[in-house]
Symmetry: C2
Subunit: 329 residues, 2 copies
Amino acid sequence: MAGPAASVTLPDIQRPVAEGLALVTAELGRMITADVPLMQEVNRHLLRMKGKLFRPTLLLLTHEACGQDDPRAMSLAAIVELIHLATLVHDDSVDHSVLRRGMPTVNSLFSHQVSVIMGDYLYSRAIVELARLDDLEPIRVLARVTDTMTVGEMRQLAAYDALDFDEQQYELLCRSKTASLFAAACEVGALRAAPAQRRAARRYGDALGMAFQITDDLLDYTEGEAVTGKPSGLDLKEHKVTLPLIAVLGRLGRGERERVEALFREAAPAGGQVADVVRLVELTGGLDYARERAAAFAAEAEGALDDLPASAAREALRDAIVYAVERRR
Amino acid sequence: MAGPAASVTLPDIQRPVAEGLALVTAELGRMITADVPLMQEVNRHLLRMKGKLFRPTLLLLTHEACGQDDPRAMSLAAIVELIHLATLVHDDSVDHSVLRRGMPTVNSLFSHQVSVIMGDYLYSRAIVELARLDDLEPIRVLARVTDTMTVGEMRQLAAYDALDFDEQQYELLCRSKTASLFAAACEVGALRAAPAQRRAARRYGDALGMAFQITDDLLDYTEGEAVTGKPSGLDLKEHKVTLPLIAVLGRLGRGERERVEALFREAAPAGGQVADVVRLVELTGGLDYARERAAAFAAEAEGALDDLPASAAREALRDAIVYAVERRR
């Protein structure tokens, strides 16, 4: 893949839209202002963990790369982050997760009740703000995302035998839980551009989201808690089957397969057991295969950028691909 | 209050829009069609417990009473029911409720996870279907409802001392959790009517919703499980303070007050203790006061109907008021 090396940082990528992102942060604060003290507390917590505004960055960069200059882009970018926050809050509640980006989740810090209602609140706020913008088109694009996301999650819940999960189902899940919002953010950024550019922006976002999610699942195998903010091997511990394991399941010997199955029979697998399967997946080429797939999606995202005119924003979108696959957390 | 006596039944009210309601049921089925078997199972369960389509009935009646005849009204009515179902599913999950209308809740029959995701799914579907209708106005009206509802629920969660709950806070809660959706359903029905009629429709729905919710809370004091599908005195058991108790709290003697406080100190109050407070509230006039307030809101709803032209649909809306305050469940 062409483009700069691992040294790409998020602030580099965000430089062309730094002013816009400051407005997005302000918009986000305005959108979730509430006069109930408990909600203020949750909102403060959410804004602290709001992270890197990666999706708003993609929206603003696509917007600029397509030669657009609509002030509503800042509101749309904040709305995309709001939808992202809403899904994080409900995901953590569904998974009973304790940590997210190294910080306590809403369900662990407050309660299950608070997280269900706050997720609903954040999503409702997103729709109210969307309606204020007087444009049906972004509502159409973004409503489809949460629809797709929830169907994907239900499909995951309904999968009884985790070890039957195949690569096609895995990609479907990545697409629904991650790539759909990336694709929508980029498409919304390009909403008023020529149809070919709008399609290219969407294709870029979709492929980038796939590369991003595969990399996320790889990091669960390769990085420790200090880096990712989550314990290493957490997915295996929670019996979540991701690409590195799927890649090798078919080619394991009988004894190796049995070690994996033993872990999946254990309600709470021990650290040693998890570390053993992590090593097994690495030695049998699972990590390499997942890296190849991430690189293939990264190349697809690069290809989509060829349909946008050359600009600093387009180069930043190119850097975002490198960032997505080479980041450490 | 004028109008027919207690003999008003729901089918009577629904007669002028019976054909439309059949289409609403079909629309609802179409909207939640999913190809994931687990979702089909949950959807079948939801459609079985979908109840009486009271909100869609109000939307269609208001629509007709305002002289409108837009086929989209059927889709809007189905969407309103979808939003209602989404809030029920999350409410039951938040409250860990086991029964709803005498049937097991989604959280009890399936799981907490399924109910969080399914609630999100139903609401997402509602927004996708709203966007399909190519009209921002109903999105504006309905997005505000869920916003209001979630703020109301957070306010309730944040109330530390249940016995400090006063009538004003109680009305705010009724308005956010019930009247807001009634008002929106009626306003959406009258969306293309003259502004005065649209305002009247909204006022009618708001007052009707208040009367409906107060009656609901009264039924918790007066009716047994066989009738309401919920154990009697459940609100008290769960430390929920509603109008009958609020009405008398200020005028209880010290000994009486202590009996109430004892119940609220008990994590799981015994049946006898609940029955004792129910009797106390009745004897000190709490039920009478709540009935008076319900009647006052019913009169307000009647008054709003004067701004709509005479029609069979308007008479059915009048009957709906009687039904709301005189129903047994």
